[in-house]
Symmetry: C2
Subunit: 231 residues, 2 copies
């Protein structure tokens, strides 16, 4: 990994053509030949980049380039698509290399999956007399997180999200439409359960007769791990 802070301009040609005017930027050169061009702002997406596998080549500027202040030209080419990124380096402010080794990689904890397990165990949180019927009930358009029966024996479809937003309501709505076409389980009502439900999502859900339930993750975990103290 090489980190360079330099005043440079950048040109990319691939799926589209793009140009970055002369300015100071951070250039991250990775071991696989890839390069990222970052400014001091924006999100994690670089201003411009070349993804691996790529070849990196540094060369001397020609006369015309040198006359406008270019001291070095970097040509980065994608090995498969041929996309090219050309960095015209003017002034280098810092340049360092570091040995990082192979990263052990990200571990995703899957809170949504955990919430589903917990709610399946604590289905009474939806109301007295509720009973778990199915988890991950498969339909033609995907699995319904939980199917339950309410105190009266009616079917309830539950969609679980960490953060309840509008697309989650849409998803549940699609499931409800489908499930209600199946005479074996219709009529089905919906419950939208999440740690946090956005006002827009709540409005949409309630407008469609879907009940919203806010789940307290820490409390549910507490009851789960400290199961003994209930007795």
């Amino acid at each position: 990994m090489r980190l360079v802070v330099a005043t440079c301009s950048v040109d990319y040609a691939g799926r589209l053509s793009a140009h970055l005017p002369l300015a100071p930027r951070v250039l991250m050169l990775k071991a696989d030949g890839s390069i990222l061009v970052h400014s001091d702002g924006g999100s994690y997406k670089p201003l411009n980049w070349m993804s691996p596998p790529a070849t990196f080549e540094a060369s001397e500027p020609d006369e015309e380039q040198r006359s406008v202040g270019v001291t070095e030209v970097w040509t980065v080419k994608h090995k498969k698509t041929g996309d090219s990124l050309i960095v015209s380096v003017h002034e280098v402010h810092a340049d360092s290399s570091h040995e990082l080794g192979v990263d052990p990689g990200l571990v995703k904890d899957g809170v949504e999956a955990h919430l589903q397990v917990l709610l399946a165990e604590q289905i009474e949180r939806l109301g007295d007399g509720y009973e778990l019927w199915r988890r991950e009930y498969m339909t033609a358009i995907g699995p319904v997180d939980i199917l339950a029966r309410d105190a009266g024996g009616a079917t309830v479809a539950v969609e679980i999200k960490r953060r309840g937003e509008i697309d989650g309501v849409e998803q549940l709505t699609r499931y409800l439409e489908l499930l209600n076409r199946d005479p074996r389980i219709a009529p089905v009502t919906g419950v939208f359960a999440a740690q946090e439900i956005k006002p827009q999502a709540r409005t949409l859900a309630e407008d469609r007769g879907i009940r919203c339930v806010v789940l307290d993750y820490d409390e549910m975990r507490g009851i789960d791990s400290g199961h003994a103290r209930l007795f």
Copy 2:
């Protein structure tokens, strides 16, 4: 912009929970409080990150953290969603700050748009007797790049891409279906024009009776700019 190379572990809690085990990594701290955690590989997406606007706070480790080798704890919190990223810094290998200023930003050249202008000017590239009828012809599902008339006066819908892939053929197919329902312009045939057409896209297009035309961008530009020499 602060660049730190450090051996660290990282924990994120937001839409999901994620953990990065202890390893050497590059940490990019931006002026807006955002942070990127990069390894020496992968694409432009960091292993973990916090997007702006965010607050950054460095603090001393507690006894337990210190006992496992943590020398500093960074807490990065998203100002709106409350998502948090915690970096447990063990050993710092490099640490530097740089003043970059505001970046002038990316200029996209829009080769596809230019190709469309050029093809509109040089519509005879599709065949003798072709005449331009409309550009960016608006439909309910989006604008058709070019509508032309062939030598026999029949309508031709043209979809232009820099790289012709399968989704471009699908797009043109949708336009053709729609246009052919309009008795004022039906029947409409399709032309898929691109600098480069992938074999799969060509197969699909031809199977649907769509003609494929490969455009030579440099040649079209040459004819355009050197218009005078034709006379």
